[in-house]
Amino acid sequence: MDLPVQQFRSEIEQELLDSFAALHDALPGAQNDRVAKLRSDAMERYASLGLPHRRIEAWKYTDLRARLGEAYPMVRPSGRPIDQAEIEKGLGPRVANLDSYRVVIAEGEFRSELSDVQALKEAGAELRSLAETLEHLPDDLGPLLAETGEQRSGFEAARPTGRSGAGPDPIIALNMALMTGGAVLRLGDGVSLDKPVHVIHLDGAGEPVSSVTRLIVVTGKGASLDLIESYAGLGGRGLQRNALTQIVAGADSHIEHTKIQREEDEAVHLSNWLLTLHENVRYNGFQYTNGGELARNDVRVLFEGEGTVMNFSAASLLKSRQHADTTMVIEHLVPHCTSRELYKAVLDDESRGVFQAKVIVARDAQKTDGKQMGQALLLSEGAEFDTKPELEIFADDVVCGHGATSGQIDEDLLFYLEARGIPEPQARALLVQAFVGEALEQIDREPLRDALTGVTADWLGVKLD
């Protein structure tokens, strides 16, 4: 009675299938049998699952099937030049001008002429186009491309039906089937870059388009990487994005990872982070969301080596009818790991924020330390916050906890500031800034933290020194 065989298909679900049928011979890697097989397998997975809807537990608060009207045609790379001004316009000068090694993925393809391939090579990192890589797929990437997003442990891993949303993920399947480009970044053992790597995604000038890209990052033993991903539009009339980032963090590596999403108002942003962390990794992730009409950020973390510490935080600043959903599945498969999640949402007008985080501690993962906190500040009557912090714990010697709060600006605090002569709008902005600041503080690198603090101030419409 449940999935996997779906009888009925909505129009958009069918359109996506059709676009695969029309495109698959032209997609990168079509000549490589392994890639072609991975793609058709993925499309089959998608065909049986359909688009997620609210009856799928993990998509309870984001009914994608109902919200997507039609599937936009896949973006066609034009190869047109993109200058600094355009990047600045898309990302805002604060983010665009961060000192970094730049990687540009525009109109669904890797743009080597805009990327610092050579400089990265000199610094010890290998950067390649995903499309090229797919033509001659290295053995170690095969298993990465085969990832379905399925939960490996916990209750739902044992549950065969597709209801729980813990089975194969249709968005990941679509990404595998349809991705047109992206980048592969590798850091050898012990390589430490002097500047962040900034991967800029730009799409959608003119007609509405879909863009499906992937970024794969593999770090060697003891490597250190500061990775920034930013997503922006080029002023087009509509964008449906399916972006996937896969990171395999080698033993003892240290990764700072930030995602900044500032797409145009009509954009639909579907993002997946698949993180595999080996032993003694220090991973610090951050997601900043304030663009698009609909954003869904899936983060899946697998602890595969002992002694690893993961810290994830997110800030979503939403207005008008924006909807942003951050959904995490954190699987502690091994002992002695630590995970921390902190989510902050500022919700104005009729926007809606969603935060779901499931921490699973497998039977053997003793001495796990897991904490999560989801907080929302509702600035207007029509805003809505839904949260579901979940713990599934099968090991006894652990310390796990979660918290969630939802409320409006504290009148006492406001009064305190106003009593000291700060006008109300500034006082409110100050309190919002402080609220978001707790998440921003988690960003280790100062220039980036300052940039995002500035972006927040811009969003609030105030100047803060």
Binding site: F155, L378, S406
Partner: protein, 496 residues
């Protein structure tokens, strides 16, 4: 601490030995034919001499049920129930509702006495047999439900003086049809969920309470449920109405004999609180949890919901869950009236192969409503214990307040403790706070207690009792002492 072989042994021994309510009463009974069909629904209805409207109501529910499928989302695993293999009605043969205690089958009375529930009013008043319930304070009226029928309801006369109606629901259908018709299914509609719909079709007995306007119920009311027959399902239905300004405290207790097969208990409890009324509902659930191999035990699939219909009304749920092989219940409050308040205090203890998926829903609809959830889950042995709860504030529920704390304690490394809270705030003035922790008993605390001469098990019982104190203090006096002992028993042998 890894579970040593010895511990596993202990758990095995204790599980079977310690369930002291596991005896069965040898009593002749009348059963409906096995299986479920429209005829069975008619049979039950006829057996109870119900009016046509109620039969129609049941049949509608039954037809609805046929179209529904079993819920699968809970964190519990069990083989599919064959609903055709159950008896839906079982009543002691000697039972045509007796007029007084003298007419009750002595075998039945003996059963209840053995369970520590003296039904004789004199004895209760004398407090002689009440030792089992701690300091049995005189003045607890009991409705005793045995399989599908209510055996006797005590203190009815005394309650009548205060205007309180306390009787079995079958009786209420006859004596107060207007009240039953008005409120039955108004909180849990027949189409609510799979088990509630099944219950609506085949419910047998349960208690009915009506507290008139402005009355403070002079004594605690309680119902004691006992499943005795083999392969029967118990489908009781309880309806409590507190009219304007009324107050009632109601207790519920349950036990069942030890049997190899699983027994189904699918109850529906509906509470209605009108303006300024307060209902305090306490449960000590101690159905047979199954043996140490996880065989047998009661499937407890219960729908409990309270409707704070009036202004400034209050409903409070307190539950101590130690029994049942599988528990699936979410006592909820619909905070409809402005200024209404809902509370939920829960201790859920699982051992052996028990599975618990329980929690609450606080649905804030009215203005200035508040709710409080305190949940303590303790898992030991091979059990899994899930807290699942929803707190939601609707658009118009301005100034809704909620505080939730759920803590889990794990004893042993083969068990699981899980938390699945849902928070939905659709109103910016709503303030929700939720916190949850999971941990094991700290070695320091254990060491401290043992150093002072307590055995490890005693020390654990002491620490656990401290852990659940917040909840227990909300139980009526009658249950507190008993519950503390129960917690000790449920955890014995779980030293990990």
């Amino acid at each position: 601490m890894p579970a040593v072989e010895e511990t596993v042994e202990r758990v095995r021994e204790i599980d079977v030995d310690k369930y002291k309510y596991g005896f069965s009463t040898d009593i002749e009974s009348i059963k409906a034919p096995k299986g479920l069909s429209e005829d069975i629904v008619r049979f039950i209805s006829a057996k109870k001499g119900e009016p046509q409207w109620l039969l129609d109501w049941r049949l509608e529910a039954y037809r609805r049920w046929l179209t529904m499928s079993e819920p699968e989302w809970a964190n519990v695993h069990y083989p599919k129930i064959d609903f055709q293999e159950l008896y839906y009605y079982a009543a002691p043969k000697s039972m045509d509702k007796p007029k007084s205690l003298d007419e009750v089958d002595p075998e039945l009375l003996a059963t209840y006495e053995k369970l520590g529930i003296p039904l004789s009013e004199q004895k209760v008043l004398a407090g002689v047999e009440g030792a089992e319930l701690g300091t049995a304070r005189p003045g607890v009226a009991v409705d005793a439900v045995f399989d599908s029928v209510s055996v006797i309801t005590t203190f009815q006369k005394e309650l009548e003086k205060a205007g309180v109606i306390f009787c079995s629901i079958s009786e209420a259908v006859k004596t107060h049809p207007e009240l039953v018709k008005k409120y039955l299914g108004s909180v849990v509609p027949t189409s609510d969920n799979y088990y509630a719909t099944l219950n609506s079709a085949v419910f047998s007995d349960g208690s009915f309470v009506y507290i008139p306007e402005g009355v403070r119920c002079p004594m605690e009311l309680s119902t004691y449920f006992r499943i005795n027959e083999k392969q029967t399902g118990q489908f009781e239905r309880t309806l409590i109405i507190a009219d304007k300004g009324a107050y009632v405290s109601y207790l519920e207790g349950c036990t069942a004999p030890m049997r190899d097969e699983n027994q189904l208990h699918a109850a529906v409890v509906e509470l209605v609180a009108l303006d300024d009324a307060e209902i305090k509902y306490s449960t000590v659930q101690n159905w047979y949890p199954g043996n140490s191999e996880g065989q047998g035990g009661v499937y407890n699939f219960v729908t409990k919901r309270g409707d704070c219909r009036g202004k400034n009304s209050k409903i409070s749920w307190t539950q101590v869950e130690t029994g049942s092989a599988i528990t699936w219940k979410y006592p909820s409050c619909i905070l409809r009236g402005d200024g209404s308040r809902g509370e939920f205090y829960s201790v859920a203890i699982s051992n052996g192969y028990q599975q618990i998926d329980s929690g609450t829903k606080m649905i804030h609809l009215g203005k200035n409503t508040s709710s409080r959830i305190i949940s303590k889950g303790i898992s030991a042995g091979h059990s899994n214990n899930t807290y699942r709860g929803l707190v939601s504030a609707h658009r118009k529920a301005s100034n809704a307040r909620n505080f939730t704390a759920c803590d889990s304690l794990l004893i042993g490394d083969q068990c699981g403790a899980h938390t699945v809270p849902y928070l939905e705030a659709k109103n910016s003035t709503a303030v929700f706070e939720h916190e949850a922790t999971t941990s094991k008993i700290s070695d320091d605390q254990l060491f401290y207690c043992m150093q002072r001469g307590l055995s490890e098990e005693e020390a654990i019982a002491l620490i656990v009792n401290g852990f659940v104190r917040d909840v227990l203090q909300h139980l009526p006096m009658e249950f507190m002492a008993e519950t503390q002992r129960l917690i000790g028993i449920s955890l014995e042998g779980s030293v990990g």
